[in-house]
C-alpha cells in the first residue's frame, strides 16, 4: 500500500484538498443535450472533477430525475462507445470519472472497458451495483489501466466494512448521504454529515458526499465535515428543464462560491 502510486483522479483531488480547497464534483448524464458543452461550462464554474453518467436501462440507484435523463439519452440513441468517443475528442482541464451500472462493464468485458476508458481520457469509474463483494476483478483491471474505481459507503454500512471500502476505494470515497436513491431533498439528511464524519475518521483519501445534496446551502453544510460534495439531480433537473450550459454554469458557480466560503 505504501508505494502505491496515486491515479490521476485521486492525485488531482488530493492535491486540491491538501491545498485547502473543498471539492466539487458535479454529475451529468452523458448523451443528454449539449452535454460536452455543459462539461466545459461546469469546469469553468469551478468543478474539480466531473462525473459523467453512461445511461443504463435499469438504473436502480437513481431517482426520477436521473432516470428521465438516462431514458432521454437512450431514446436519442446514445451508446457507451458514443459517449467515450465524444470524451476522447475533447480535452478537459479536470479529471473525468464515468458512472454506470455493472452490466455495461460486464457486457464489454473488463479489459476492453478499462482500456476504452483509458483511451478516452477517463480517470475514474463509479459503479453503484459493483461494490466490495463482487468488485475485486474490476478494481484490479481498472487500476492496471490507470482508472481509479470509486467505492461507496452508505449509512447502513458496518464500521468494519466501511474501513475495508475506504481502503479498497481509489480516487475518493463516495459517502452516500442518505438511505435512498439519487434525487433532490428539501433538507440535508443528518446521515450525510454522519457518513462524512465516519469516513474521515478512517481514511486519508478524499471523502465526498453525494445523494440528496441539492443546493449551495446543503453543500456547505456537509462540506464542513467532508472534503466536498457530488451534486447530480439538482444539476440534471436544470438541464432537463432546458437550462443548457449557461444554467449549469450559474448553478455550479453558486455551489463553488458557497463551499469556497467555508473556512
Amino acid at each position: 500500500m505504501a508505494n502505491q502510486t496515486l491515479g490521476m483522479l485521486e492525485k488531482a483531488l488530493t492535491e486540491k484538498r491538501d491545498g485547502g480547497r473543498k471539492l466539487l464534483v458535479p454529475y451529468i448524464s452523458g448523451g443528454l443535450g449539449d452535454w460536452i458543452e455543459t462539461i466545459h461550462a461546469i469546469i469553468e464554474a469551478g468543478a474539480d472533477a466531473v462525473e459523467v453518467g453512461i445511461p443504463f436501462s435499469d438504473p436502480i440507484m437513481d431517482g426520477p430525475i436521473i432516470q428521465e435523463a438516462s431514458q432521454r439519452a437512450l431514446d436519442g440513441g446514445i451508446t457507451p462507445s458514443a459517449i467515450l468517443s465524444e470524451l476522447r475528442r475533447n480535452s478537459f482541464a479536470v479529471p473525468i470519472a464515468v458512472m454506470t451500472y455493472y452490466n455495461i462493464v460486464h457486457h464489454a468485458g473488463h479489459k476492453r472497458f478499462a482500456r476504452e476508458l483509458a483511451n478516452s481520457g477517463v480517470s475514474g469509474s463509479i459503479i453503484p451495483d459493483l461494490q466490495l463483494d463482487e468488485g475485486g476483478d474490476w478494481i484490479m483491471m481498472a487500476a492496471e489501466n490507470g482508472i481509479d474505481n470509486v467505492l461507496l459507503a452508505a449509512p447502513s454500512t458496518s464500521p468494519e466494512r466501511l474501513t475495508r471500502s475506504a481502503v479498497s476505494s481509489r480516487g475518493f470515497v463516495y459517502g452516500v448521504g442518505l438511505m435512498g436513491v439519487t434525487g433532490e431533498r428539501a433538507s440535508l439528511a443528518d446521515s450525510a454529515s454522519e457518513i462524512a464524519h465516519r469516513l474521515k475518521e478512517c481514511t486519508t483519501r478524499p471523502v465526498l458526499v453525494g445523494v440528496g445534496v441539492s443546493n449551495a446551502e446543503q453543500a456547505v453544510q456537509v462540506s464542513r465535515v467532508s472534503d466536498g460534495v457530488i451534486v447530480g439531480s439538482a444539476l440534471v433537473r436544470r438541464l432537463l428543464q432546458g437550462g443548457g450550459p449557461q444554467s449549469a454554469f450559474e448553478f455550479i458557480s453558486e455551489l463553488r462560491k458557497g463551499i469556497d466560503a467555508i473556512i
Binding site: 443504463f56 436501462s57 435499469d58 438504473p59 436502480i60 440507484m61 437513481d62 431517482g63 426520477p64 432516470q67 431514458q71 437512450l74 451508446t79 457507451p80 462507445s81 451500472y101 455493472y102 452490466n103 455495461i104 460486464h106 457486457h107 464489454a108 453503484p128 451495483d129 459493483l130 461494490q131 466490495l132 463483494d133 463482487e134 467505492l151 461507496l152 459507503a153 452508505a154 449509512p155 447502513s156 454500512t157 458496518s158 466494512r161 471500502s165 452516500v176 438511505m179 435512498g180 436513491v181
Partner: protein, 391 residues
C-alpha cells in the same frame, strides 16, 4: 451432495448468482442470509412454516393424473396442482416463508413486485395473515391486464403502486421496489417473488418453493410404484415454480425441462449479464442495455431468469424450451375442455410444450409431470379478448 445444493458463500451456482446491489442494500442482504440460514435449520420455524401451509394454504396439493388429456396425447400426464393452493398459485409457499422471516427480523413492513399479480396477491395475503403493512409495485401495463388481481390486493389491505417507468411491466416493477427498499430497509423487507435477486434470494426462494418438488416426488413414487416420471416440466419466467419442482427430482433419472415464453426466453436467447442483483442469462442488446420481454403472460414477461436455471442449463442437467403465444392459448383451451382445469397463462406454456412434443421428443407412453403453477381465473378476461380477436 445434491446437484441443487446450497450456493457458494458468495451466492454462486457455478458462475451464476452473486450479490450485485448498491452498497446501501448489502447489509440487509447479509442480515437476511443470516436470519434465513438460522431459521431454516430451526425446527420451530420450519414447523410454523409447514403448519401455515397445511392449515391455511391447503397443502399438500394433490397430483392429478389427466385421463382424457393423456389419451389424446398418448403420454401419461400428471399435474402437480399448485393452482389449488390458497391464493391460486405456488407463490403462497414463498411468501409465507418470507413473511415469517420479516417478523423474525423485527420488521413491520413488506414490499413486493408483481407481474401477473399472483405474487402480489400472495404477499398481500401473507401480510394480512401476519399483521404486516404491505405495498406492491406493479407495472402500469400489468395493472391494466390484471385488474382482478389488483382489486384482490386492495381488498387484502395492500397498497398497489403503479410503475410508469421503462417497460411498465415486471422488470420496472422490480427496479421500483428495489429503489423503495433502499430508502426503507430499516423497517422493510423486500419479498422478492422468484428465484432471482441478490444472494440469498435465489437460494432462499428455491428452498421455500422446494415443498412443491418434495411433495411431488413422494406422490409420484406412490403413483408409479416407486418410480419417478420420465419428464418433469415447468414454465420459467424468473423460474420459482420450476426451481421448486426441479429440486425434488434433480437427483433422480427424470429429465427436467423448463419452458420459457418465446418473447422472454432468457436462457434460450440471452447471454450472461447482471440485472436486479445477480449474474444470469439476460436478454440484452449489443451494448448491454436490458431488453424488454414480450409475452401474453404477465408472469413470464421478464428479460432475466434465476441464476440457478442458468447453472442447470450450463451443466446440462435441465434443458429449456420455448412456447409461442399462439400454442399457449391453444393449450389453455385444450386442457380446459379435456380436463375441466383452466390453467393460468404461465403453466399453459409447460402444457403447450408437452402437447407439441408428445410423440416427438417425448416418446409415446412416457410419464410426464407438469407443475400447474396457477389457476387461470386471473387471465380469463384477457384470454377472452385474445380469442375474440383471433376468431
Amino acid at each position: 451432495m445434491s446437484i441443487m445444493g446450497a450456493p457458494s458463500s458468495s451466492g454462486r451456482f457455478g458462475e451464476f448468482g452473486g450479490r450485485f446491489v448498491p452498497e446501501s442494500l448489502i447489509p440487509a442482504c447479509f442480515e437476511l442470509e443470516k436470519v434465513f440460514t438460522e431459521a431454516w435449520s430451526d425446527p420451530e420455524f420450519k414447523n410454523e412454516y409447514q403448519r401455515i401451509l397445511r392449515d391455511y394454504a391447503g397443502r399438500p396439493t394433490p397430483v392429478t393424473e389427466l385421463q382424457r388429456f393423456s389419451d389424446w396425447l398418448g403420454v401419461r400426464v400428471f399435474l402437480k396442482r399448485e393452482d389449488l393452493a390458497h391464493t391460486g398459485s405456488h407463490k403462497i409457499n414463498n411468501v409465507i416463508g418470507q413473511a415469517l422471516l420479516t417478523k423474525r427480523m423485527g420488521k413491520s413492513r413488506i414490499i413486493a413486485e408483481t407481474g401477473a399479480g399472483q405474487h402480489g396477491v400472495a404477499t398481500a395475503t401473507a401480510a394480512a395473515l401476519l399483521g404486516l403493512e404491505c405495498v406492491v409495485y406493479m407495472g402500469e401495463i400489468d395493472i391494466a391486464r390484471q385488474a382482478l388481481n389488483v382489486f384482490r390486493m386492495k381488498l387484502l389491505g395492500a397498497s398497489v403502486v403503479s410503475v410508469t417507468s421503462g417497460s411498465r411491466t415486471l422488470k420496472d416493477a422490480i427496479n421500483e421496489a428495489m429503489r423503495e427498499w433502499v430508502a426503507s430497509v430499516d423497517t422493510t423487507h423486500y419479498c422478492i417473488g422468484s428465484v432471482m435477486g441478490p444472494h440469498p434470494y435465489p437460494y432462499m426462494v428455491r428452498e421455500f418453493q422446494r415443498i412443491i418438488g418434495d411433495e411431488a416426488l413422494v406422490q409420484m413414487r406412490q403413483i408409479l410404484d416407486g418410480d419417478v416420471p420420465d419428464y418433469v416440466v415447468a414454465c420459467v419466467g424468473g423460474g420459482s415454480n420450476a426451481a421448486g419442482t426441479f429440486v425434488g427430482f434433480v437427483d433422480t433419472r427424470s429429465k427436467l425441462i423448463g419452458v420459457e415464453p418465446e418473447g422472454g426466453a432468457a436462457i434460450n436467447r440471452g447471454i450472461p449479464g447482471v440485472v436486479h442483483g445477480s449474474l444470469s442469462n439476460l436478454l440484452q442488446d449489443d451494448v448491454g442495455q436490458v431488453q424488454e420481454a414480450h409475452s401474453i403472460s404477465a408472469g413470464l414477461d421478464y428479460p432475466g431468469v434465476g441464476p440457478e436455471h442458468s447453472y442447470l442449463a450450463s451443466i446440462g442437467r435441465a434443458s429449456y424450451a420455448t412456447a409461442h403465444d399462439s400454442e399457449v392459448l391453444e393449450a389453455l383451451q385444450s386442457l380446459s375442455r379435456l380436463e375441466g382445469i383452466i390453467p393460468a397463462l404461465e403453466p399453459a406454456h409447460a402444457i403447450a410444450y408437452v402437447i407439441r412434443e408428445a410423440g416427438k421428443t417425448i416418446p409415446l407412453g412416457s410419464s410426464v409431470l407438469i407443475t400447474m403453477s396457477g389457476r387461470g381465473d386471473k387471465d380469463a378476461e384477457s384470454v377472452a379478448m385474445m380469442l375474440g380477436e383471433n376468431n
